[in-house]
C-alpha cells in the first residue's frame, strides 16, 4: 500500500501542476482577449469624477505593481534561499550594536513593509530576540534602497525631507528596540499562537516537505495573497481622497504647522500605502502641505497603518501594538514639528 502511494503521488502532483499551469495560462490569455475587445468600447458612461477615480486608482496600481512584485521576489529569496544563520552570525554581540546593524539590514533586504512582517516572524523563529525583530520591522521599510531611491526621485534634497525620513526611521527603530529590550519577558509581547509556532520551528532551517523551488512558489503565492488586496484598496482610497476631498480643505489643513503634521499622519494611517511608493502618493500634497507634514507621513505610514496593524496582530499582542503605535506616533509628530520649525 505504501509503495503504491509512493509511486502514484508524484504522478498526481505532476498532473496537478500541469492543470494549475494550464488554468493560469488560460485565465491570463482571457484577460488579454477581453482587454483587447473592450479597449475601445465604453460599457458604461461614467460621470467625470467616477472616471477619474478609476484612472487615478489604476495609475497608482500600475506605478506600484513593479515595486511590490520586486519586494515579494526578494522576500522569497531571503526567506527560502539565504540561510538564516548567515544573517544571525554576522551581527555584533553587544545588544545595542546588534540593533544598530539590524536597523540598516533593510539595505540588504529591500522589501516593503508588507513583506517585512512574515520576514520578521521568520527572524524571531530563527533566533532574533523580539526587540531585535521589532527594530528590523520598523526600520527596514524606510532604511532600504528602494524607498530611499523613490523618495529621492520625488523630493531630491528639498526641505530635508529625504534626510529627515532616513534619520528619523533609524532613530525610531532603535528607540523601539531599546524600549522593548527593557521588558522583563520579551516573549510575552508575542501572541500565544505565534510564540507556540516559534517553539515548534526553533532550530528548523526551512524543514519543509517540498523542495526550495516548491517552497518559493508557495511563499510567492502567500505573500501575494497578503499584499495585493491591500495594495488595490490603498490605491482606491488614494484615488478617492484625490477626487472627493476639496482642495480648499487640504490647503487649510496643510498650511498650519501643527495640523499639516497631524492630518497627513491620519491620512497615512488610513490609506495604508506601501513605503516603496508612498513618496509618489504624497507628491501632489507637497504643494499644499508643509514639509514637516510630508516627513511625518513618510515616517509614520510605513510603520503604522490599518494594513500593517492587521498584519502585525498575527505576531504581537494588542497591548504591544498600542505601545508601538504610541511611540511611533509621538516620534513622527515630533520630527515633523521640528522640520516645520526649521525648514
Amino acid at each position: 500500500m505504501t509503495d503504491l502511494l509512493t509511486r502514484t503521488r508524484p504522478k498526481v502532483a505532476r498532473r496537478a501542476q500541469r492543470i494549475g499551469l494550464l488554468v493560469a495560462a488560460g485565465v491570463l490569455t482571457a484577460v488579454f482577449l477581453v482587454r483587447t475587445l473592450t479597449g475601445d468600447i465604453a460599457l458604461v458612461d461614467l460621470p467625470n469624477a467616477a472616471q477619474d477615480l478609476v484612472t487615478l486608482t489604476v495609475s497608482v496600481m500600475i506605478e506600484s505593481l513593479g515595486f511590490v512584485i520586486l519586494g515579494i521576489l526578494i522576500s522569497v529569496l531571503v526567506q527560502v534561499w539565504i540561510p538564516d544563520r548567515w544573517i544571525v552570525k554576522v551581527l555584533p554581540r553587544n545588544a545595542a550594536a546588534r540593533r544598530v546593524v539590524i536597523s540598516v539590514l533593510g539595505v540588504l533586504l529591500p522589501v516593503c513593509e508588507c513583506g517585512n512582517v512574515p520576514l520578521s516572524r521568520g527572524l524571531v523563529a530563527k533566533g532574533f530576540s523580539v526587540p531585535e525583530a521589532m527594530t528590523f520591522l520598523v526600520a527596514a521599510p524606510i532604511v532600504n534602497p528602494v524607498t530611499i531611491l523613490t523618495t529621492y526621485q520625488v523630493f531630491g534634497f528639498t526641505d530635508g525631507i529625504l534626510v529627515a525620513r532616513i534619520v528619523g526611521g533609524f532613530l525610531i527603530a532603535n528607540l523601539i528596540g531599546w524600549l522593548f529590550s527593557q521588558h522583563p519577558a520579551p516573549g510575552a509581547l508575542l501572541t500565544e499562537k505565534f510564540a507556540a509556532d516559534c517553539a515548534l520551528t526553533a532550530g528548523d532551517d526551512h524543514d519543509h516537505s517540498g523542495s526550495k523551488w516548491q517552497e518559493s512558489r508557495d511563499l510567492f503565492a502567500r505573500e501575494a495573497a497578503a499584499v495585493m488586496p491591500a495594495l488595490v484598496l490603498g490605491a482606491f482610497i488614494a484615488g478617492l481622497v484625490q477626487v472627493a476631498v476639496p482642495r480648499s480643505v487640504l490647503v487649510t489643513l496643510g498650511s498650519n504647522p501643527v495640523w499639516s503634521v497631524l492630518a497627513l499622519m491620519a491620512l497615512a494611517f488610513v490609506i495604508s500605502i506601501c513605503s516603496n511608493i508612498d513618496a509618489f502618493f504624497i507628491l501632489p500634497f507637497a504643494t499644499t502641505f508643509m514639509p514637516g507634514g510630508v516627513v511625518a507621513f513618510l515616517l509614520f505610514g510605513p510603520i503604522i497603518d490599518i494594513k500593517m496593524l492587521a498584519m502585525m496582530r498575527t505576531t504581537f499582542t494588542t497591548k504591544t501594538l498600542v505601545q508601538i503605535t504610541t511611540v511611533v506616533a509621538l516620534m513622527s509628530a515630533t520630527i515633523g514639528f521640528m522640520v516645520n520649525f526649521y525648514a
Binding site: 485565465v27 500600475i62 516537505s209 503565492a221 482642495r247 509618489f280
Partner: protein
C-alpha cells in the same frame, strides 16, 4: 477544495500585469505612468506574469500555523477583497482614459507652486524672442510670473488642450488646459490658458480638445479672478492627441 485565498493574490498580480503589458503594447501605458517608469513597469509585469504561472503549479507544501483573524479582521478582509475585485475588473473592462476636467477643476488650474518656470519673462522679452514654439506649459509658466498686459502685447497664443470650465465664471470663461505629470496620474497638476467667451458652452463641450489661437486682453469677466484672458481667438475642435499629458 482549492485554497481560494492563495489564488487571490496570484490572480490580482496576473490580471494587473497582463493589463499593464496590454497598455504598453497598445501605446497607452503613458496615460497612467510617465514614460521614464514604463520600462520598469513592463519588465516587472513580465516577471510577475512568469512568477504567477510558476506559482500556479500547485504542489503539496508545509504551512506555518496561521492565525485565524478576528471578526473585524474578517470584515475588513471581505471589504478589501470586494473592492480589489471591482477595481481590478474596472481595469480590464473599462477603456483606458485620461483624467478629465473634473480633476483639473478640483486641483485648480495653474495653482501648483511646484510648476517649474520653463521659460522666463527675460527670455520672452528679448528682441529675437518668438512665441511660435511656446507650449501650453510655457504659457502657464508666464502667467504665473506676470499678468501685466503690456508684456503679452503682440504675442499670439497657440496651444492645444481640453476645455475646463472656470470655477468662478463657468458660463463665460474656460481654460484650454492639459495635465502636467512627474511620475503618474496621481500627481497630475492642471496647467492652462484662460479664455473669455460668453456662453462658450453653446458651441463647445467641457473636456473637448481644441486648438486655440488668440491674444491676451483685459478679462471682461466680472466674477473671475483672472486679470487677463485670451479673447475672441480662433478655436477649432481637434481629436485628443495620442500624448495628452505633459511629462516632466
Amino acid at each position: 477544495m482549492p485554497d481560494l485565498k492563495r489564488y487571490q493574490g496570484l490572480a490580482l498580480i496576473g490580471v494587473m500585469s497582463a493589463s499593464t503589458l496590454w497598455l504598453a503594447a497598445t501605446g497607452q501605458l503613458e496615460l497612467y505612468v510617465a514614460p521614464k517608469h514604463a520600462i520598469f513597469a513592463v519588465v516587472m509585469s513580465s516577471l510577475g506574469l512568469a512568477a504567477v504561472l510558476v506559482s500556479a503549479m500547485r504542489v503539496t507544501v508545509h504551512h506555518h500555523a496561521e492565525v485565524r483573524p478576528r471578526m473585524l479582521g474578517r470584515v475588513a478582509a471581505g471589504v478589501g477583497g470586494t473592492v480589489a475585485a471591482l477595481v481590478t475588473a474596472a481595469m480590464v473592462l473599462l477603456p483606458p482614459a485620461t483624467l478629465t476636467s473634473a480633476t483639473a477643476a478640483q486641483r485648480d488650474v495653474n495653482s501648483t507652486a511646484a510648476l517649474t518656470d520653463t521659460t522666463t519673462l527675460d527670455e520672452q522679452s528679448a528682441p529675437d524672442a518668438s512665441t511660435a514654439n511656446l507650449s501650453l506649459l510655457d504659457w502657464a509658466s508666464l502667467l504665473r510670473q506676470t499678468s501685466d498686459l503690456g508684456f503679452y502685447e503682440g504675442k499670439t497664443v497657440q496651444a492645444t488642450g481640453f476645455i475646463t470650465p472656470d470655477s468662478d465664471d463657468p458660463g463665460n470663461m474656460f481654460y484650454v488646459s492639459r495635465f502636467y505629470i512627474s511620475h503618474c496620474a496621481i500627481d497630475a497638476q492642471a496647467v492652462g490658458v484662460p479664455v473669455y467667451m460668453p456662453n462658450w458652452d453653446d458651441t463647445y463641450d467641457a473636456d473637448e480638445w481644441v486648438d486655440l489661437e488668440g491674444e491676451f486682453a483685459v478679462n471682461a469677466s466680472t466674477s473671475s479672478s483672472q486679470g487677463i484672458a485670451v479673447a475672441a481667438g480662433a478655436i477649432e475642435p481637434v481629436p485628443q492627441p495620442t500624448d495628452p499629458y505633459i511629462y516632466k
